[in-house]
């Protein structure tokens, strides 16, 4: 059974336009992050939906993989909180490395200090690799494809030439749809 673990990164925003930096170490036993939610959790009180109060970006594996860029919205206080689903993420984690990112506030008016949370959903299992025996190597695949393409090209071009009653010889080129005389 796979044990899903959630990492929570909380960010406090105290002034308009603030840039909040964060870094977080994910435990080494977690091998893969499969989803994330970034949301406003506390502080902004609004009567209407604010589609963007700021945005967050994060990279995984100590800056090796830039994986998240997302706006943060604020819900009106009278609307029940949506059970917002996690957005899909598929990042293989290297052990002992950091999630690094920034949050940038973009509220233009009516600023209140508020808090944003980034939830990361991670699992302790690595991605399942397809065995090499069942899967032809990329080189073989390329050769087969090019042969198929060449055959279909030739057939298409023959059809084309028959329609045109053109009996001239053609130089077949795999890189083009039909030969040009």
């Amino acid at each position: 059974m796979v044990g899903t673990r959630y990492n929570i990164i909380r960010l406090q925003v105290d002034r308009p336009g603030q840039i909040v930096r964060f870094q977080h170490k994910i435990p080494s036993y977690l091998k893969r992050c499969t989803g994330f939610v970034a949301k406003h959790v506390q502080g902004v009180q609004t009567d209407f939906y604010m589609p963007e109060i700021g945005w967050i970006s994060a990279s995984f594996n100590s800056l090796k993989e830039e994986a998240i860029v997302a706006p943060i919205s604020a819900q009106p206080f009278y609307e029940p909180e949506e059970p917002s689903g996690f957005q899909t993420l598929d990042v293989s984690l290297k052990p002992g490395q950091l999630v690094v990112g920034v949050y940038v506030d973009s509220m233009k008016s009516n600023f209140f200090p508020y808090m944003v949370s980034l939830y990361l959903r991670c699992v302790p299992t690595a991605r399942i690799q397809v065995s090499k025996q069942t899967d032809p190597s990329p080189k073989e695949t390329k050769v087969i494809h090019s042969r198929i393409d060449a055959k279909s090209n030739r057939k298409n071009c023959e059809d084309y030439s028959q329609e045109d009653d053109n009996t001239d010889e053609h130089d077949y080129n795999n890189d083009q749809l039909c030969s040009i005389i």
Partner: protein, 107 residues
């Protein structure tokens, strides 16, 4: 003596990322324009002269953001930006610097 290029190469080596192209890129700011935008999709622009920028300058990009504060040392200012980059000079500034980057295109 601290060398920007050595630092950058070490950074990318740590990330196991090869460098395809490395060159200088600069933005000349001009009075009275305060905002500038530039594209750096699938590449990095690394700021090398943070110390020359007016206090309060903001550089916002898809992957990183920076606000120049008092006492920002040149080492802290070696920041990389990628994607759409917006540079905002403070409204009250009289300083219009040349903003210098090293452009890195990775493999």
């Amino acid at each position: 003596m601290f060398d920007h290029l050595i630092h950058i190469h070490q950074q990318f080596k740590q990330r196991e990322t090869g460098i395809e192209l490395q060159r200088f890129r600069s933005i000349t700011t001009q009075n009275p324009q305060k905002g500038y935008e530039l594209d750096a999709y699938n590449e990095y622009l690394i700021l090398t002269n943070a110390h020359a920028l007016p206090i309060g300058t903001r550089i916002i990009s898809d992957t990183n953001s920076l606000e120049i504060v008092q006492g920002h040392s040149s080492l802290e200012g070696i920041e990389e930006f990628s994607g759409l980059i917006r540079i905002e000079l403070p409204q009250e500034t009289q300083q219009y610097p040349v903003i210098e980057f090293i452009q890195i295109v990775k493999e």
